[in-house]
């Protein structure tokens, strides 16, 4: 009787539900059959909408403000080897070295009389250079002097004219200054090893190409941008724009692209091989753009403007993806993107250096793997549904102060009118 019957026994495989170690998360058996998971698009759409909302709510980019300067900040520089150290030069000739993790000033140097016009760190991070209105180039030790000793520069070079900018070579002991001419200096010598001039003009900025390290570019006051090769005796090429460019920055991941910040409220990205037409024109500022710096990944750049805002542009987009402003921030003179691609530093007229997150809604600090996975998923969803009107509207909304808003509207109207003609 018994042998004739078939007994079916429930049999479960412990491999399916038993953890290998107690640290593992509980295993949940899943059935991916789509018939039991319906409405996938609508569910994901809702998730995307929520993710976008949360992103906007968590978008609090302002991290800290470093105060202590007694005049407007004129230039900023990153330490070449340490993320937490930042140098700043003010309009009263003072240079301060900041520790970002502690958010405090480590050292103050009265470097120049008059403005500190330019500041840059040596590639090894052992020393830094400043130029000022007192026609000097000074090299300083990055280490503070011993107790009771005075701050003395390692080297001082007295020039004939005012220097307005400085930049250091990426791997060698040479640096470039600009003023009435663009000069290339050897660190060991007190006179320039090469000096370029092309017409009578004064320069506002000179930058080494970080990738092709022998190339330089400078902005001149006669509305031109000039390219140089350090190995050649003469400049390479000049483009003249409609208005003056204030600064420029090379893309650290694309050897031939650079972006310049212009007085006509726009930024222009050029390919140095085809200088007749800019690759992209980046619009959105409503006043002169004063400084620009690329993110170390070369995907985006940040610009500082006279209109009291900072904007972040994707490198190939005509419009900004982000705008940062605070009530108290005045004209932003200089801006830097930190070398770990996480933060942005801005120095402004009202004597403060501000630290911002490069990605406004990013959570700082360590993330657990599950958090990371969730964030990635949300990001993916936002990307996927970015064209849907509701999602787009929320993702794109930014607050703007009233006067800026008005100015912007005015500009837009002007542009429309011009187009209609």
């Amino acid at each position: 009787m018994l042998s004739g019957m078939k007994v079916k026994v429930l049999c479960r495989n412990p491999d399916d539900y038993v953890r290998e170690t107690t640290r593992d998360i509980q295993r949940v058996p899943r059935n991916y059959d789509p018939t039991i998971h319906p409405f996938e698009v609508s569910r994901e759409y809702t998730r995307a909408l929520n993710a976008t909302k949360l992103e906007r709510i968590f978008a609090k980019p302002f991290v800290a403000s470093l105060d202590g300067h007694r005049d407007g900040i004129n230039c900023l520089a990153k330490h070449a080897k340490t993320l937490s150290v930042v140098l700043s030069g003010a309009c009263d000739g003072e240079v301060k070295i900041w520790n970002l993790s502690k958010r405090e000033c480590m050292r103050t140097i009265q470097a120049h009389e008059g403005f500190v016009r330019g500041i840059c760190s040596r590639f090894c991070g052992s020393s830094f250079f400043t130029v000022g209105d007192d026609k000097t180039v000074k090299q300083w030790n990055m280490e503070p002097p011993g107790r009771g000793l005075q701050e003395e520069p390692l080297n001082t070079i007295l020039g004939k004219a005012v220097y307005t900018g400085i930049d250091h070579h990426q791997t060698e002991g040479t640096f470039a200054t600009c003023g009435q001419t663009v000069d290339i200096w050897d660190e060991q010598r007190s006179s320039p090893i090469r000096s370029f001039s092309w017409g009578v003009d004064s320069f506002s900025c000179v930058r080494y190409n970080p990738v092709e390290t022998e190339l330089l570019a400078s902005c001149a006051s006669d509305r031109s941008i000039i390219l140089y090769d350090m190995r050649e005796s003469a400049p390479l090429k000049k483009i003249i724009m409609q208005l003056r460019s204030n600064t420029l920055c090379w893309n650290p991941m694309e050897a031939y692209n650079f972006t310049c910040s212009n007085e006509d409220y726009n930024l222009y990205t050029y390919d140095m091989r085809r200088l007749d037409v800019p690759v992209t024109v980046h619009m959105d500022h409503v006043s002169a753009v004063l400084d620009v710096d690329y993110s170390p990944t070369g995907k985006e750049f940040v610009s500082a403007s006279f209109d009291k805002t900072i904007r972040i542009f994707p490198k190939n987009s005509g419009h900004s993806r982000e705008v940062y402003h605070t009530k108290r921030m005045q004209h932003v003179i200089c801006v830097k993107w930190s070398a770990d691609n996480k933060y942005i530093l801005s120095g402004s007229d009202e004597m403060n250096i501000r630290l911002w997150k490069a990605n406004a809604s990013e959570k700082l600090g360590l993330l657990t793997p599950r958090e990371k996975a969730a964030l990635n998923y949300n990001q993916k969803l936002r990307d996927k549904f970015q064209h849907h009107p509701q999602v787009r509207r929320i993702a794109r909304h930014r607050h703007l102060p009233r006067d800026l808003f008005k100015q912007k509207r005015e500009l837009r109207e002007m542009k429309e009118a011009r187009r209609r003609k």
């Binding site: 080897k81 090429k237 070398a339 996927k384």
Partner: protein
Amino acid sequence: MAGGGNNEEELSPDDEHIISASEEEDGSDDESKHAKLLEAISSLGKRKRMKRTERSEASVQVSEFSVNADGTGEKVNLSDLLGTMDKTPGAPNKTKQQLKNLQNRKETLELPLSKQQTEKIQREVAYDKSSKEVSRWETVITQNQKAEQLVFPLRQDPTGPKRMEQVVAGWKAKTPLEKEIFSLLHSNNQPIHDPLLTPAEEASIKAMSLEEAKIRQAEFRKARVLQSYYEAKARRERKIKSKKYHKLQKKAKVKAFLKQFDEMMKTDPAGALEELKKMELSRMQERMSLKHQNSGKWAKSKAIMAKYDDAARKAMQEQLEMNKQLTQKLVVPSDDDDDEERNVEEADALPDFVNDPEPILDSVNPWMRGKLTQEHSEPEVTAVATETADEEEEENEEEKLLREFERKRKLRQDEDDDLVPVPQEEKQEEVAGENVIQISDDEDKEEEEEEVVVSEFNSLFNRLMKSSSVPPVPEQTGAEEAELLDEGLVRVRTMDDLEALQQDVVMDTTQPAPASATPAPSMETTSEPPKKKKKKKGIDPNEVLTKEAKVIKMPLAPTVVEEEEEEVHAEQTAIIKEAFAGDDVISDFLKDKRKQEKAGQAEVVDLTLPGWGEWGGVGLKPSKRKRRKFRLKAPAPPLRKDQNLPDVIISEKRNSSVANHQVSQLPFPFQNSTQFESCVRFPVGQTWNTQTTFRKLTAPKVVTKMGAIIEPMSKEDLPPVKESSGAGSGATIVLGEKVEEETKKARRRNPLQKKKKKSRQ
């Protein structure tokens, strides 16, 4: 040099003069004395002057090859040298000819270019060179742009364990303990760095020769093979369920053991004794345990069954016997050896499930154990090497699964589509189909071929109308605006604010919607109503309504579409007019409209159940009151928009509440709406995807490491150039040539210079 030469030349006539004077006045002594004096003086002066020249020309006279600097003052003209050329037999004729030509030519050389021009040329060349240099990066940059994921910093140390040498080389003793250990090692001649072996170890390694090692390896291999063979065999045997087989097996084993034991008694008494002791011990354990005491579950069940079942009774008796045997006191150990041993063997060999109350340990079901069984773990251990391959397979399986799911999902969606809403394209087709049918209804007499022709006309007509009426969409402005940030005065702080923001959107989108009613490649806008309108535009009803023109023969064959449009256009319009000449388009249209209106009206639902609350049966109808009560009339639908427009049908199928969530324009990178839709339809989440695919799908585009400085790209990232050393020299040569070329070009460009020179001549 030149100055010195001049001096001498000036001097030379003086010399001659002096010499001649001395020769003239040989006769008179006074005069000769005077002359001598003069000579001396002059010679003094001469010497002085000579000295000066000598001093300035020291290097010429004191030559390291001891060549006299005799003819220093004399100039060598080119013509002097050339004069000798004719006489020298060694010189080739060609060069002589060339030289002659040169002599005959009267032109002077061209002027060098002005400084500005040369600079310009130099700049151009240098710029070309540097831009070429920079272009080397192009491949890397495009590669990075296309990359699915970029991990920064670009150059990272390889993860995973480092090689022993690397670790050891970089390590230094820091703590005092480490230092002490190091000193000890040093004193023992323990090498710290490379070979990492003591001399003794090295010697031992050397002692084992290659052949020996091979033999050993072979032995090991053999042993391993044997082991695995036996394991497999044992496993196989254990799986056999036949009781008889196991019984036989047991008996054979016992026999074999006995034999072995006997042999052992003879050959190795000490070993046998040990074996005996072991057996004794196992017997003691057996006695101590509750085995064979008839107290187990099995025994109890058998006791119940023993009344009726012979087999059970037998089993019981066996058990009892065993028990007796075990509990017996051993009088003569040597006699009972065999029995005991048999007992032990039997006890061991008995399938455990016979005795054990809970068959856990060696159960048939390997899943019922907490740990992995050996059978499972073994293949894992052996398959370490081929793990990657397995993984791939797994992935493949996963992909298969996913594909299957995707297929199912599509199927389901298709079903849904069939059931519920109306995707527009299909709808369009349906409409077209209806038209065709109607036309054929009207013209019953005509043949099927003509129908086909008509349908073709229909489609042609549609296409024509579309091409003529749809204005080009200004896509650019849309794209531009899409990129813009939406900057406003509202500051969003909470979810409520965001909700409010959304409502604004709804308001915004609804307002401009009618204004921009362009039938762009959209997802949801139904293009049905405009089509109807077009029909109106295309055909003048007054013309069409002439019923007399009903019978028209179609002399034309199906039109060839490939013909040039301009020619065809007029023809086609004519054809279309002809084709629709017989149709009563207006009545069709009115019918259509009525149909749509009807479809829009809510129907009356009758919920009366006969027999409830009253008598039921054949021929009995529910009462009027009841019918009135249970007939539900839906509320009247809102008025149609086209109520007062007799010649327009406005479709009401567009759901405005859904439209707010739908994309109205095709986003930039997509080519057509199906692409976009398929992209949206494919879910990304964990609910629909396996863990690995989920991870793959949601991988971020840029990954940065916390606290790591991202250096700019360096020359090491460049792909290797073919000839690094040769390229440099080649480049310089090319450069030189280029400069020449450029100068030539420049000269060609400004012929003014040449003219000037000529005029000078």
